[in-house]
Symmetry: C2
């Protein structure tokens, strides 16, 4: 504990309920990591769970007064260590602020506190015939505050955009303890710099989000699903290209050969593991338009050389067709120490990226790719055989090589999971020197003492030189 | 001319072609104002028209060296004075950088220089069966650089979003003369703070945009148009509410009684000037889905009490039905000195806003409202009878009162035109003190010497107190 510790704890106990200031080591331990495997975490001074914006502001003012850093945390479902604890810092968990304040169908907005789970908001909107579009795979156990802090994506982004596209306004507590409102409840607005957008994806480094006003849309029609088995990566890429230039699928996912094999070994679904790739497309256009788009999906896959194409308009059957995609992560996870990538490339470079990932295979490693083909955001996955130190080192090197490949193909090191602790090196390679300087200038302008989520999200300096091209 | 003037001009002539450094008073005069009537403009030291990013960077470094401010300018079509000249500054016009560098259908992007006109990009995309969605009314004479700098909107925003939603990456010249790239060519990406979003809508106060990578979508189906004549503002609001909760129209515009009268006096179209409002809705869903949505538009208007509803699926006829909307601005403009508002409110408050605007009528004034009902962004318009000083003062007061009304209804002072010179007072009333401080902190971090577009876009300080509620 820092020398500031006892006085700060006394102060916290004066503004928060006793139960909301947690120092019990076992309880603290459950808040030290997010879901990213293998990343370090410090031992926090305390975990606090404020219940109101006023309490959050009081906590921030106390922390600033004592010079103690703050790590904002939502539901702890992150995949890049963004909310991992920092030694001697306060972990401020916003899970007790979980009210859906308001849903207004005509305005087309929901006002929610940060601890509301994504799936709960989606269910509440559905009762009004409305839809909150962003649907991370963690929908049932991730919170809106974390979604906003990481600009979370999901399966439906390809048509409906990411979290950023659905956030109209935020209430935030700034690093000086003041409370402000950013953005507007109206659908449009250009008054001043887009600070709402700046806070979305800022991973807790600029302040704490205490309320979000998000956009709701009319609920789309039930999806039709088309699944195609493709004989080569080139064929799969060609099908993706044909589809995205002709229509806007509401989902377009890809699994490569290794992913199909790993899933099939985990849960036999009858996948053709001899094929190169599985493409899963959906359309949520209603009626005849949906039937026509489903035909377009089928035709694009067949013309690209699909050996099999299956189509369904039944929701339960559609969900079955998506099962292989949903099982990918757990299927890989059980094989050993997992490194989950999150790179994105321009859609025309998808096939090249997957081929480069396949070429990284080595003894003791399982390497495969699945992800959001429709917007070029893939999750190449590297698993090192458990207990094999050589494989672990090779996996770590492969993880870095995948980021470099994405950058060489004109892409980015993270499409939706964020930088956190995991991608600080990759970020340093992605951004040029002037951009890195700009990022730091922004951080310093808002948090001059560097107390908010230190060591996260910003580029590591100096950057590791890019690997020379082969 | 400042004492720095001659040396700076020599420097500019060393890096730019002789014709690209303009000091001839007549030529300079044509670049002093944008299209906002009645706003002040200084006399620039020179107008320069660089042709390459390298030239832009050289111009910035020279200006910084001599301590001379820079006013970025695109096509000069702005409506809030954002590119009006500043006394003794350099006006940097980017109209010579007008190349469409690339259109890539599979990646779904266009790479364009800032001087490319919006309509030209839309036409070029159309040749590939693709669509650049943002369509300001000035489409044929506004440039992409200006669209990005102001986060321009348009008629199709209600379904497809504003410029912000279509910008993936930017090349910018920063206030220190360095060149950097922000964002990514991939559709998704969360690497670092969203500086692309920060630059969109920053109105030339943070740097100069020298290239934009924008998103293209598949061309939607031709629109079906439904026009309804509503007997009251309440009825029009009710129809809008029914429509936006049930579907996503590709256009949803409103004209109030005064606007219908003014248009009818300008060009007789047979509008029912006894009615309270005209609603114009479109759907671009294909085939049967489009027919169904058109029926939904019709039914919503009829159930709200429409006295007449006309529908068409013929593109030429649809354009005729939109004529009244397109004629609104020129119809008002000829009546005297025009004050064009651009407020936005939550959609549920549309009727209240229009009623408050109507209540501001006074001798010598014409006050009416038209605009983008589907996303709550309206253009109340106040015209003072020419040569009537009393009317001019009343118009100016009404203009301010409309902003206050929008703020009281939970809205914003500008939905799509930007702050420029025109709304600095309104912005100061909209943003709370902490938000205003944040805006200035960001500005100072990027442009510590305050050389980029000084006196624009940021809140006037100290803010005028909000008018007391009636």
């Amino acid at each position: 504990m820092t020398t500031e510790g006892p006085a700060l704890l006394d102060g916290l106990r004066a503004v928060l309920a006793a139960n909301d200031v947690i120092t019990d080591p076992d309880l603290v331990e459950t808040h030290r990591h997010d879901r990213a495997p293998g990343l370090g975490a410090g031992h926090p001074l305390a975990v606090v769970r404020p219940r109101t914006t006023g309490q959050v502001a009081a906590v921030v003012r106390l922390a600033v007064e004592h010079g103690v850093p703050i790590v904002p945390r939502g539901a702890g479902s992150g995949l890049s260590g963004g909310s991992n604890a920092v030694e001697g810092a306060l972990s401020v968990v916003l899970d007790r602020m979980d009210a859906i304040v308001e849903i207004d169908p005509v305005d087309g907005v929901a006002v929610v506190q940060p601890g509301v789970l994504n799936g709960r908001l989606r269910a509440a909107a559905r009762e009004h015939g409305l839809w909150y579009a962003p649907d991370p795979a963690s929908s049932e156990f991730c919170s809106i505050g974390g979604n906003v802090a990481t600009n979370a994506g999901g399966l439906c982004c390809v048509k409906y955009g990411v979290t950023r596209d659905c956030v109209l306004a935020l209430e935030v507590v700034l690093p000086d303890g003041s409370v402000t409102r950013l953005g507007h409840r109206s659908i449009k607005g250009v008054a001043g710099y887009d600070l709402t957008g700046l806070f979305v994806g800022s991973e807790g480094t600029l302040g704490l989000i205490t309320e979000a006003t998000v956009r709701l849309l009319p609920l789309p029609a039930p999806a039709r699903t088309v699944v195609g088995v493709l004989p080569s990566l080139e064929a799969a890429s060609a099908a993706v290209g044909t589809i995205v230039t002709a229509m806007r699928p509401s989902l377009l996912e890809l699994l490569d050969r290794t992913t199909m094999r790993v899933v099939e070994e985990y849960r036999p679904l009858g996948l053709d593991t001899g094929a190169a790739a599985l493409l899963i497309g959906q359309t949520d256009q209603p009626g005849e338009a949906g039937r026509e788009e489903a035909v377009l999906l089928e035709r694009a896959m067949r013309e690209a050389g699909a050996t099999e194409v299956v189509s369904s308009s039944d929701p339960a059957e559609s969900e079955l067709l998506l099962a292989a995609r949903r099982l990918a992560y757990p299927a890989y996870e059980r094989l050993g120490r997992l490194f989950l990538e999150d790179v994105a490339v321009p859609r025309g470079r998808l096939g090249e990226l997957i081929a480069r990932v396949e070429a990284l295979s080595a003894d003791g490693l399982t390497i495969g790719t699945f992800g959001h083909a429709g917007d070029g955001n893939l999750h190449p996955t590297v698993v090192a055989r458990a207990g094999d130190e050589g494989a672990l080192a090779a996996a770590s090197a492969a993880f870095e090589a995948i980021m470099d490949a994405a950058l060489e193909l004109g892409g980015t090191v993270t499409g939706e999971h964020g930088v956190g602790l995991l991608k600080r090196g990759g970020l340093a390679r992605e951004l040029d020197a002037a951009n890195r300087r700009l990022q730091r200038d922004i951080k310093r302008a808002l948090d001059p003492r560097g107390l908010f989520n230190p060591g996260k999200a910003l580029a590591a300096e100096p950057p590791r030189p890019r690997a020379p091209r082969p």
